[in-house]
Subunit: 182 residues, 6 copies
């Protein structure tokens, strides 16, 4: 049955580690599922009660944005580069998620794919907010590692990546974070 | 800053194991965050395009339904019994989540608490669907363990618990699951 | 058979992590059983050859003092607070251990419960020494984490908690520890 | 300070895995400390209220019987054989524990070494009971693994080793265990 | 310094899990480095004293054959399919290893790349033997998991993959393995 | 069949942790297999294209140098001391590896044992290079731990051990490493 297959395929996200942390030397890092949960929650807290945001769309986007990794795992940065950069990565993830959504009936498939495309094209307010939320979650997790001994200087790339955050609410969090942990 | 505090408190869900699996003998089981993610995703797939369901409410409910465990951890079944049963557990989780939502501004707080109360009172369609989805997710995860060697007979309690599932879509999944794995 | 059931229930202590460390960000921390072992050993080394201490009673007390956690797990500090503080926690652990000792015959039950009550009431010399030993073990373990990179400032709460230690032998250890690691 | 050194050396028992399980293919098995705790507890439950047993001596013996492994780790069976069998192993563990007890003052040292020697010489009632309890604990742990999928046939060697158990109470447990899990 | 960089990049193989096992539900599986070691050792035992094999070349080939995964991780089967199948995978791994060998001086680079190309083109005796050894090692590891409870039926794909083994020595091992574990 | 037995015995190296790291407080450290792989690779990179080195011999030596640990595990430093120092350790490992090679046919056995003896006697150029490479790998791994928070001062013993490195290529790496990480 396709829904069970869908569950089985995405269940692997509970076991797949975030390779970014592994490459940086952190053993037994969070799973992709754990990161996704944290990003969804952050998106909810930031997106709720915002007039410029369709909350339901934002939540769905956050829930599905990493589902392609059920098939392709968490690609390392080097891997993305070798594949030809971000465009190729987006293409690959799009194929993965399309294959996954094939397990759903046509209506659901269409609706979810539509939202996914908004995300990778980064063209709607929800997509922009989610991309930045995703980035902030990574920085927040890195700060958690810093609090238990991961050296401060290793976080530079996360702080730099966060520079591209422009959403007011997120910038506010980021600014406070900087004064406290940078 | 309260939003950062909110992140820090809920970040622990990435590390806290589901004690139910530990008690049953499964080492290094999934984290609470991983289970939550899987439940949210299942709720999305089941709840999308359903006329009797307010999808946004269902998703928010799924995202927040285990947040109380950030403070109190995943209570063991024996623990719940000793605390005086399900009512006391609900009371405790309600207090935990209220404490957590105190970190949010009043508007968000009110909205989320309202949805949370619907959940624990199991009074709306969304609450009923989520409770059953949560139960089904546990069974599906148990089946995943069975597939790698966890003995069939250990799953009886999960199959029994799933008897209370009445939602048509979920019953359909359950029925198929039974013919294949019970 | 009740003794086997007793073994099975307490065996879970080998798998249950100390949630205090998890909450503080330490992954894969020691199990409750491992902490118990270390506390028992410390109690033996400190309590042996002391005229004011009944060694047999001290050892039994150390062995059983965390057994209630077989049922209720290692409650997080926040959890204890939400349950209504230390008194409620003691009540809960007392119920848990009573349930566990129900698996033993009446004589053993009575003897062990009697020692357990001395412990939670902190009224005998052995109880006082064990409470302080337990606290010192936590600090010593924290120092072990510090030695592999866990930041010094995270240990403040352990140093503060250790201020309540008054037993001469333990104070001596503590004093030396301070000069070396604080 | 020697007591702190003593703690540091024995703290490693929390991290050292039982190599017997590793060799048998079980990943992330219990630590030596966890096994010790379980053995101590079993010894307490079995030894309490027995007229032929000096309980205090039994408990001390159980607490210290694996301390030598702080220095030498948990020797694999093949390793023991290559070292020249059980006698050489006992000699090595004796040297290890003597080195460890050198960190204690003379009185404690003497008392503990005396009890340890009774244990390795297996000459007192307490020593005989502890050796058999240790063996039973291993079997009980193996049964725990069997309950989560470890194949029955792998337990034959544990059942065979348990044949040497003659103590009435332990035999009773063993007999029941056989009817249920063999 | 380039040699240190080379070490740092390949050191990640110690932490990267074999995703094939993760996808199949096995938690905390072997690292890529551990699998590589086992394959190298098997290649040595099988290839030594064989007249048709240049042993030095075989060993070098075995040592380097998975080094590309330092950059791209262990691609999941689904990932390879989505990338366009085995040819694209080979192309990607070739790019990865070329990038890695750029850290070595030209002579070493050339020599190692030459051997690597023989491997991916599967054109020399050493390449053919190594491909089959690699496949056999996966089956042998799967059998190890079977011995601790991983269900027999999950190994079918490994047995099927092993059908392509034609080397006499490896076929002999395989035949024996079948009679014992299939 | 002996070759399968050989695989089974050495497969345990994938699970056995390097006890040296455990004793130093590092949880879930690399396996013996992972360390071996890294040492083999380093030996290849350093030994290739060297006129004074028989590369094939060097690689075989690197592959087999820790195989004795399949039987005896990774002895702790304290354990080696108690066994009577390095000579006794070498004797024990020699016996272990002889027992292991008994599973191979006589020709292979003789050839591999001959190379192993050159290694433990440290009498050939290959043996000298491998001993130093092994030492350097440990230091490089320690530096990896330092990069994720393991305190600098804990590495002193590794830096000191590395003082015995005299091979020109290795000294060059070491010198650079010092300027960067000491």
């Amino acid at each position: 049955m396709d829904l069970i297959k869908f569950y089985e395929v995405t269940n692997v996200l509970k076991r797949l580690p975030r390779t970014g942390w592994l490459v940086k030397g952190i053993k037994n890092p969070e799973s992709i599922a754990a990161h996704s949960f944290s990003t969804i929650l952050l998106a909810l807290i930031v997106g709720i009660e915002r007039k410029d945001i369709n909350l339901q769309k934002l939540l769905i986007m956050a829930i599905i944005h990493d589902l392609g990794e059920s098939y392709i795992g968490d690609l390392t940065p080097a891997s993305i580069e070798l594949l030809g950069g971000n465009e190729s990565k987006k293409k690959l993830e799009k194929e993965a998620i399309t294959k996954l959504f094939d397990l759903l009936d046509e209506h659901k498939q269409k609706k979810l794919l539509d939202i996914y495309e908004q995300y990778i094209n980064n063209e709607t307010e929800e997509a922009k907010l989610l991309h930045q939320t995703d980035k902030l979650e990574m920085l927040l997790q890195a700060v958690e590692y810093q609090k238990v001994g991961y050296p401060k200087e290793n976080l530079n790339e996360f702080w730099n990546a966060a520079e591209s955050i422009t959403d007011n609410t997120l910038v506010e969090i980021l600014t406070y974070l900087k004064t406290r942990y940078r």
